[in-house]
């Protein structure tokens, strides 16, 4: 490990913020992804158009632009929305919220395609059997369709999560004190850019390795019903 001249604590704080940001973006992204997948196969055409427009736009513009647009653009938009109600003060989104929303939107755009594919791959007979057993629609979704689609969606979602974690570095641009921002402070104080950016790179690499391990474990767990009996 290189000499970090006393900045270990700051980097650890930044790492904690990065993890929190990644997890809150993940939650937003999963909800948006499920909603997007549901809208894509909805019987109402305008819902389908909205969902398709959403995924097309998200996949066509850079993540950095989404982060900047949400952080700077959303406060302007919110102020314009608030003006007719008599509120003329300044509205500012915190970098954490703006970052979570922006990364969540990005994750959700890609995730809705993953979920859509996964739900389509669950045999319709499964849901029909559940209907025949008299289960309610919510029961069918949570007990029959979702667990099976989850298994199929997991590899795709895992890849998206790895991308999301690297994208958290972009939120440093709007001033959130996550790992990258803390590293920049350390560079400013020590004038050792290579040492610190390399340290940050290795920490991100560590995060990637840990996530890959977790995802492998989750995939194994999600597939536990499909294992074959072995002699040993």
């Amino acid at each position: 490990m290189p000499d970090l001249s006393g900045f270990e604590g700051q980097l650890a704080l930044g790492l904690w913020m990065t993890v929190r940001l990644a997890l809150s973006s993940l939650v937003i992204g999963l909800v948006l992804g499920l909603a997007g997948a549901a809208a894509m196969s909805a019987p109402v055409a305008p819902l389908r158009w909205i969902a398709h427009a959403y995924t097309t736009i998200i996949r066509g513009i850079p993540e950095l632009l989404v982060v900047l647009l949400i952080y700077f653009g959303a406060s302007v938009a919110l102020m314009k929305l608030a003006a007719p109600f008599g509120y003329t003060g300044y509205i500012e989104l915190s970098p954490f919220i703006a970052g979570s929303v922006a990364l969540g939107l990005t994750f959700g755009g890609y995730a809705s395609e993953v979920f859509r594919g996964a739900f389509q791959a669950v045999p319709p007979g499964q849901a029909e059997a559940a209907v025949a057993l008299g289960m309610s629609r919510t029961h069918i979704f949570f007990r029959i369709t979702l667990p099976q689609a989850w298994r199929l969606a997991l590899p795709g979602l895992g890849n998206l999560f790895l991308v999301l974690m690297k994208d958290t570095a972009l939120v440093s641009v709007i001033g959130l004190e996550e790992l990258m921002r803390k590293t920049q402070f350390a560079v400013g104080a020590t004038k050792e850019p290579f040492t610190f950016y390399l340290a940050a790179a290795l920490i991100y690499l560590g995060l990637t390795i840990v996530s890959m391990g977790l995802l492998a474990w989750m995939e194994k767990r999600a597939n536990r019903g499909l294992g074959r009996a072995t002699a040993s």
Binding site: P62, L65, F72, Y197, I209
Partner: protein, 242 residues
């Protein structure tokens, strides 16, 4: 929403888009040059040969592009042997070249992984046929495996090109006036973030759309021999009418 602001920003934004395209295509070209030897080494059966490209690919795919960019642009200046080098320093102090170097190294790792999959997907029969014809290993690689792998890799390479277009927005963080950087400078003057960023987004979408269409066209052209021939007598074809 102020449409006038959006139109006003357009010429400057297009100027930025031109820089984004330069970064994309130059790094896309060098990325392929880096990727070919990496992919060949990575597809090797020999563990010692595989190890180095594996580590390279793992590093560049496992860390954020922003960190890599800062590592090259800010990081390398920490070393006296670089800042005092009369050949390296004039290149490495320019954000333009730092962006191109970083993007090439980054996309090279991704392309290498795509190409490795493609090399391993080349049908064994084609390689065996080449060997049976007495081709040397290098000739087989250059004339049979790589052309076939390139065709297999093309769709995935298209995706990577689009991801790289989006990645090129990071050039704005090292003072370059690419499409995103230009949008940020315009906003510093007109205080219209919503309109200006949306206009930039529209330009990115347009570029993505053109790229997708262009790649689909190339894919179509390079796979002519894979499509089934039209059956039945074609109209206006005298040979078929006989």
């Amino acid at each position: 929403m102020n449409v006038e602001v959006m139109i006003e920003a357009l010429p400057k934004l297009l100027e930025g888009a031109w820089l984004s395209l330069q970064l994309l295509f130059i790094s896309g070209f060098f990325g392929v040059l880096i990727a070919v030897p990496l992919a060949i080494a990575r597809a090797s059966q020999n563990t010692a040969v595989k190890a180095l490209p594996y580590a390279y690919i793992f590093f560049f795919r496992g860390t954020p592009l922003l960190v890599q960019l800062f590592l090259v642009y800010y990081g390398l200046a920490q070393f006296a042997f670089i800042t005092e080098n009369p050949i390296l320093w004039p290149i490495l102090r320019e954000p333009y070249w730092c962006a191109i170097i970083t993007f090439s190294l980054h996309t090279g790792a991704y392309i290498a992984e795509i190409l490795r999959g493609a090399i391993q997907a080349v049908p064994h029969g084609e390689i065996e046929a080449a060997r049976a014809l007495g081709m040397r290993r290098s000739t087989t690689m250059g004339r049979i495996v790589l052309p076939c792998a390139a065709r297999i890799a093309l769709p995935a390479y298209g995706n990577e090109l689009i991801l790289m277009l989006k990645g090129s927005a990071l050039a704005s963080t090292i003072t370059l006036l690419d499409l995103t950087g230009m949008a940020r400078t315009i906003i510093a003057r007109n205080y219209m973030p919503l309109e200006t960023f949306l206009m930039a987004g529209v330009i990115y979408m347009t570029i993505t759309f053109v790229l997708v269409r262009g790649l689909r066209f190339i894919e179509h052209r390079t796979s002519a021999h894979m499509r089934p021939r039209p059956t039945g007598p074609a109209e206006g074809n005298p040979a078929a009418a006989e």
